[in-house]
Amino acid sequence: MSESILLGHGGGGRLSQQLIAREILPRFGDGPLRTLPDAAALELSSCQIRFSTDSFVVQPLEFPGGNIGDLAVHGTVNDLAVAGAVPRWLSLALILEEGLPLVTLRRVLDALQRAAHQCGVVVATGDTKVVRRGQCDGMYINTSGIGEALPGFSLGVEHLVPGDRILVSGTLGDHGMAVLSAREGLQVHNGPVSDSRPLHRLVQAVQTWAPEIRFMRDPTRGGLAAVLNEMVMGREVGLHVRESALPYAPGTKAMAEVLGLDLLHVASEGCLVLLCAAGVAEKILACWHALPEGVGAKEIGWVTQRRGRVILETSIGGERVVDLPGGELLPRIC
């Protein structure tokens, strides 16, 4: 029988030590984690820090374009990035289900290590627990992150003024559709691929125009529709979005047609939404286009005076309201 996680791996005894010595330290032991202290001692050059946390419960654990490991790094790194910070340190908490194949855990940890390295973040502290079979779906991960604020940014939706432009850094809905297609048991070939990737370089690249950048967000759960609505809800301004300008990957779009989903409601994990003064939109786009993660960047609309409303100019020249998504994304036949 192939090796798998046992309850004893979380018991604090010999098996726990073995798991940490064999799987965690070789991957993450070259920083503060080396001596396994109870708390990491960190030094930051700035006292303007950003601090964020996120839990990852994705099913399936592995999906086209990534797995829960790189997702757990990118998710927290991106939360820091859109707050205008350079990510520096991560905590890593693993909750493993008894019976999880060790090979799966290794693939996840490998991806996590690679992603952390690419993002220039160090896993500074961690924890591992094992729960009984049936108490979690294979594994859950929580990561918290500390980043140093980039000078110049003063982000907030209260700064939005009519005429400001809305930019996105790439195609929308790829992650959500990749996960959903893997889950629906359709055995899709050549289907959507997750866009799980870090966004901090896109943020660092536009620091020059920081004073003209009003707000940034990554459209994860709830998709672009949720992010846009949160920005203007209860405010004096609204948003106008052009459907014909929205970038979609062909496989993602095709799968959304099959399952009857509105891609505005579907999560991305490697897309940045940025609102800025009209005058710098072109410059930011040109700058992003030079980076691999920003090649598909586009201007998709602007800020209006229609209070709290997100309006979509449809592909045929009609208009409709973009509403908050209802919650659980379900395939439709109707």
Binding site: G163, D164, C276, A278, G279, W302, V303
Partner: protein, 95 residues
Amino acid sequence: MCLAIPMKIIAIAEDGQTGTVDLDGVRYAVGLMLLDKPAVGDYVIVHAGYAIEKLDTAEADARLALFVSLAEVYERELGQEVVWVAPSPPRGHGA
């Protein structure tokens, strides 16, 4: 009530009951038993994992061509050119 989309048959299983369909490169298997003599290369309308009817591509192409020619007919009817004036953003502030 009946979300269904056109996809192209690219393979048919030996028993003829299922086949692989394609939309813009995305592929999966659907039931074909509601069709009369499906063939590879046919476009079909897929609903809930089954092809429910064939799509007549000649009719579809003719309809697309009709839409183009209708535009001219309507302009003649109205005696003027119909142009789309897209909404544009208000003048921005800042840099």
